[in-house]
């Protein structure tokens, strides 16, 4: 039934990325991976030296130099921290609002039908519309980016919590009732473990997008953060600075993914490895 189908295409993207990286092996593959990067830098150097003037396409080494300047002056850290805090605030709000909404949608048919359109629309709106909304509602204000990050993350959280609720093993619930477990205990050992994998699936996907959106909203109407620095480089017509911030952005997203999200996920799912329990992932 079309009415109840909400597609979050990004989930599939996430899985596709996983399938791409899962096949990585050591040795020659790393060699080819380095070859790819070198080829890219080689092309870039060629065009920057022989074809375009430096203010159009600066050489890789001048971008590296600019990046080093930004690191030494500490601008990178203060701005990424500002963007990071806004994004986190958005996430906290999205979880606080999205989990109850997801629980309602998973439990009550009426709530699912009522909230369907909101969730569908929020999940399928181009990022620029969010940024415009932040600008309209909040003006030049640090809460604008946080607010739209919340809007952007919310559908993924809600849908996945709803799917998690629907996947709860009815037999286990009945058994907990027969054995007169308290509902808090049932929630902790039956309901939450079946929701959390879904929550992670939804969360990981929105993660990369939420940084992009936070930076974009800052570009539109922020006072601090990466987006503001990028906007400034644009106003000064400085391609060097823009490219420097662009590479910092990539490094930042990959670092957060590798060093914060992945360890956190391993910690949350430690019970799976310990008991060799049945995988409940969607």
């Amino acid at each position: 039934m079309a009415a109840t189908e909400i597609q979050l295409e990004d989930v599939e993207l996430e899985r596709a990325v996983a399938s791409l990286t899962a096949r990585r092996r050591r040795g020659t593959n790393i060699l080819y991976s380095i070859l790819g990067a070198l080829a890219f830098i080689g092309f870039w150097s060629f065009f920057s030296v022989f074809v375009y003037p430096p203010y159009v396409l600066p050489a890789p080494w001048s971008v590296a130099e600019r990046m080093w300047e930004l690191v030494v002056s500490g601008e990178v850290f203060s701005n990424f921290l500002a963007s990071f805090l806004k994004t986190m605030l958005g996430w906290v709000l999205a979880l606080g609002l999205g989990i109850p909404i997801g629980l309602l949608m998973g439990r009550f048919r009426y709530a699912k039908a009522f909230l369907h359109d909101f969730v569908y629309i929020l999940a399928n709106v181009p990022l620029i519309v969010y940024a415009v909304v932040a600008l309209l509602v909040f003006g030049i204000n640090p809460f604008g980016p946080a607010f739209v990050v919340m809007l952007e993350v919310l559908p993924g959280v809600a849908i996945n919590v709803a799917a998690g609720v629907e996947s709860v093993d009815r037999g286990l619930l009945a058994m907990s009732r027969s054995f007169r477990r308290r509902s808090s205990q049932t929630a902790r050992s039956v309901v939450i473990p079946s929701i959390v994998p879904f929550l992670f699936a939804g969360g990981r996907v929105s993660f990369a997008n939420s940084w992009k959106l936070a930076a974009l909203a800052e570009t539109f109407g922020g006072t601090t953060g990466v987006g503001v620095q990028i906007e400034k480089s644009f106003q000064l017509f400085s391609v060097v600075s823009l490219l420097a911030w662009m590479f910092f952005f990539v490094i930042f997203v990959i670092a957060v993914e590798r060093f914060m999200i992945a360890p956190f996920e391993r910690w949350v799912f430690r019970w799976r490895r310990a008991g060799g329990a049945d995988e409940g992932s969607p």
Binding site: A3, T4, E5, I6, Q7, E9, V11, E12, L13, R15, A16, V17, S19, L20, T21, R23, T28, N29, Y32, S33, L35, G36, A37, A39, V56, F108, R109, Y110, A113, F114, L115, H116, D117, F118, I121, N124, V125, P126, I128, V129, V132, V133, L136, V137, A163, E166, A201, A208, L216, I230, S233, F234, F237, V239, L242, M246, F249, V250, I254, P282
Partner: protein, 271 residues
């Protein structure tokens, strides 16, 4: 992620008020409530436009002849860009699936491409080409292609190996193997990937138009923002949304369902 487990939730009880809690009425109630909240927010806060004001603005804009011309310019740009995305994404994705050297050479570049925000490309492109038609198309291609590449790659890997081997053993002609096995198993992924590529590509075109262009939907929204007319920004923002949602609903959802139809019924016994 698909939400289809309807059977888990009990059907609503048949009371005299049963129609009030039916799915259809619930969805219309939601729309009316949303409109009321918007109207309330518009009247309560100075800077938020009301639905009525936005509607009147759109009527005025229509009489000025701006709506059709700008929408068609943006659509032409998006269509050209997305056609290129389709060709490039399929070619790169299939090449990565076929040759492992290509795969390992490009994997990291593709992952970086997915991470890069479209708006940084948009700013770069505006600095490089200024007000042009090339800018929106280029950003559309660079920001949407990596997504299609990974999905195509995954689709190509989803080919049922044992079935292909069996067809080989029973001497099934190659073209029939391709038509009945390889394409159906791949298309599901490709279509889903292209659907998200369309959303990304449309957003990219709008961004470039906002940051530096003299035509198009994004330009028009920026124009009214600079003029301080928030109803104008809201109106054009609404147009951006409606176009992508309509296309997604009317075209892409059907296409996705079409390519998934063969899976229905096999769910019970498929591995």
């Amino acid at each position: 992620m698909t939400l289809v487990a309807d059977d888990v939730i009990q059907a609503p009880p048949r009371h005299w008020y049963g129609w009030l809690v039916s799915d259809r009425v619930a969805r219309y109630t939601a729309r009316v409530v949303a409109l009321l909240i918007w109207q309330w927010a518009g009247t309560a806060f100075e800077e938020i436009p009301t639905p009525r004001g936005t509607f009147e603005f759109l009527v005025d804009e229509w009489h000025r002849g701006e709506i059709i011309s700008n929408i068609s310019i943006s659509l032409v740009r998006a269509v050209i860009g997305l056609a290129l995305v389709l060709v490039l994404g399929l070619a790169i994705g299939l090449a990565m699936a076929k040759w492992w050297r290509v795969r390992y050479t490009l994997t990291d570049l593709i992952l970086v491409g997915i991470t890069l925000p479209a708006f940084i490309w948009a700013l770069l492109v505006v600095m490089w080409w200024g007000f042009s038609n090339i800018g929106p198309i280029v950003v559309c291609v660079v920001s949407a292609t990596p997504q299609l590449v990974v999905n195509t790659f995954q689709g190509a890997n989803a080919t049922p190996g044992p079935l292909v081997a069996m067809s080989g053993a029973y001497h099934v002609p190659t073209d029939r193997q391709f038509r009945w096995l390889v394409i159906p198993s791949m298309m599901e992924y490709i279509v889903a990937g292209y659907r998200s590529a369309i959303l990304a590509g449309w957003g990219a075109v709008l961004l470039v138009e906002w940051f530096g262009n003299d035509k198009g939907v994004g330009f028009r929204a920026h124009y009214w923002y600079d003029a301080g007319n928030f109803e104008g920004v809201m109106g054009w923002g609404l147009i951006m949304m409606v176009i992508i949602l309509l296309f997604d609903r009317v075209v892409m959802e059907r296409v996705v369902r079409h390519y998934r139809r063969w899976r229905v019924g096999s769910a019970g016994w498929s591995v």
